[in-house]
């Protein structure tokens, strides 16, 4: 995983998505990583994120809920054609802002965390390694999809996650940076999804071993049954 430090916040490119951690304990950070990864994989097993964005996002949230991340509110909207141009960054930040609005209602908190999300995208955009990674991840996809998750831990221990995602029928041209890619609304359909989730540590703890076990059982089965004698060349 690619990790970049930004003003004390941890930004991670995980399975092609951006995760931003604000003040999370290591334990909760691991919980987010594994829940997000498991949920992304589960959603991608059923839907293509670039062409079935809404179904993918709903499947992702449903799996996250099973992992202990309980959705407070959720939206998935088509971006209005009145906007002249879209950019990946602007849509992501807008989606995160919507998710945070569902979760907190506190204007100063929303403003602060939206700023964190915006800075995180800038940080990644300014990191040649992370941009190269994202460009490689998205180079072969049809259309565009990306999600960002901002996770915060309050002083009282409460953990909130705001997830924003975009889906567009447009793809960036070769050799351009995905994060600063802009496109016109007149030639494409673009959607943003937003959700706020609260973390229920107790629920996660009850499924954590199952998550590991599910992967673990498959691993044992593979190790015991898969052939390991190389084929002979003709």
């Amino acid at each position: 995983m690619s990790e970049i430090q930004n003003a004390g916040n941890n930004v991670q490119v995980n399975n092609g998505d951006l995760l931003v951690f604000v003040g999370l304990s290591e334990e909760n950070s691991d919980a987010l990583k594994y829940s997000h990864l498991f949920s992304s994989l589960a959603a991608s097993a059923e839907y293509f994120p670039t062409t079935e964005g809404q179904q993918w996002f709903q499947a992702y949230l449903k799996t996250m809920e099973s992992c202990g991340w309980l959705p407070v509110k959720f939206s998935y909207v088509k971006e209005a054609a009145s906007a002249q141009n879209f950019s990946v960054k602007n849509l992501l930040v807008k989606a995160v802002k919507a998710g945070l609005g569902y979760a907190t209602g506190g204007a100063s908190m929303v403003s602060s965390l939206v700023s964190v999300a915006s800075d995180a995208v800038d940080t990644v955009a300014q990191s040649p390694e992370a941009v190269a990674l994202l460009d490689r991840l998205n180079a072969e996809k049809e259309g565009t999809s990306l999600s960002i998750a901002v996770c915060t831990q309050q002083a009282n221990g409460e953990v909130m996650l705001s997830v924003g995602c975009i889906q567009s029928s447009e793809s960036p041209p070769d050799k351009s940076s995905f994060l600063v890619f802009e496109w016109s609304s007149s030639h494409s359909d673009s959607y943003t999804g937003a959700a706020a989730l609260t973390f229920h540590r107790g629920l996660y703890d009850t499924v954590k071993s199952t998550l590991i076990q599910r992967v673990g059982d498959k691993s044992k089965n593979d190790v015991l049954t898969k052939p390991i004698e190389p084929k002979k060349r003709p």
Binding site: M1, S2, V13, N14, N15, G16, Y34, L37, P128, E129, A130, A132, L133, R136, L137, A139, E140, I212, V215, G216, K218, S219, K220, D222, V223, L224, K226, P227, I228, E229, P230, K231, R233
Partner: protein
């Protein structure tokens, strides 16, 4: 904390660059976790003549063993920008986002690989797995190459890059570092992935894996006998 030293081990068609900060168990895990995936993919498909299917199986086995793959990439095009345009340089170029702090020692490791004599037993073994030349009546001979480089850091964290090539060029014994003629290359696929081993999952299969691989390990795994201190 990296001490910026690496040792080199051949496993199948993969050159593993193992951080000297790995303990003995981690080194063993890194080698076994690669070898199993390589052997199973090679049991189901031919690395050189069924490469697309081979690679799909290879990556599936990684996930199955508990590798959390956080990034994958694949490009199918003849990349002319790699200088020099050699199999080793193309694979190296594909590693891309290496931590800057490790670059000097990794570049030193690359130089060491380039300096190995073509008669080195590990290079002979690599050539046997990674290279083939086929000739059908009335058709220009084709040489296929499949090579992977894998940097293993404590964690276990891995950055891997591989290249699959088809060329009509006749390659010599020093094929690894031989400049390729671009106009003769008919197919080039470069792939990379970043991942880390899910320790809780791997702990449950470590002993099974070691037992199953025991009779085969010596046939496919070979150190390159380069002193770690020199890297």
């Amino acid at each position: 904390m990296h001490t910026k030293r690496f040792s080199l081990v051949l496993s199948g068609n993969c050159l593993l660059l193992l951080s000297a900060d790995l303990d003995d168990q981690q080194r063993q895990d890194a080698i076994d976790a690669h070898l199993f995936c390589w052997l199973n993919a090679s049991a189901e498909f031919l690395l050189l003549s069924e490469n697309q299917q081979w690679h799909g199986t290879y990556m599936d086995r990684h996930t199955g063993l508990g590798w959390v793959v956080s990034a994958t990439g694949e490009r199918i095009n003849v990349e002319t920008a790699t200088v020099p345009f050699t199999p080793l340089a193309i694979a190296w170029h594909g590693l891309g986002s290496l931590p800057a702090s490790l670059l000097p020692t990794l570049n030193a490791a690359l130089t060491m690989i380039q300096a190995l004599p073509e008669t080195h037993p590990a290079l002979q073994a690599l050539g046997a797995e990674a290279l083939e030349r086929t000739q059908a009546p009335g058709v220009k001979p084709v040489t296929r190459i499949a090579l992977e480089l894998r940097v293993v850091l404590p964690g276990l964290k891995v950055l891997a890059s591989s290249v699959f090539l088809e060329t009509h060029q006749c390659l010599e014994r020093q094929w690894l570092t031989q400049p390729l003629e671009i106009e003769e290359v008919s197919r080039q696929v470069t792939r990379n992935f970043t991942g880390e081993l899910f320790p809780d999952v791997f702990a449950g299969i470590r002993t099974l894996l070691e037992t199953r691989l025991e009779p085969l390990r010596a046939m496919y795994v070979m150190p390159l006998n380069v002193r770690e201190d020199s890297l």
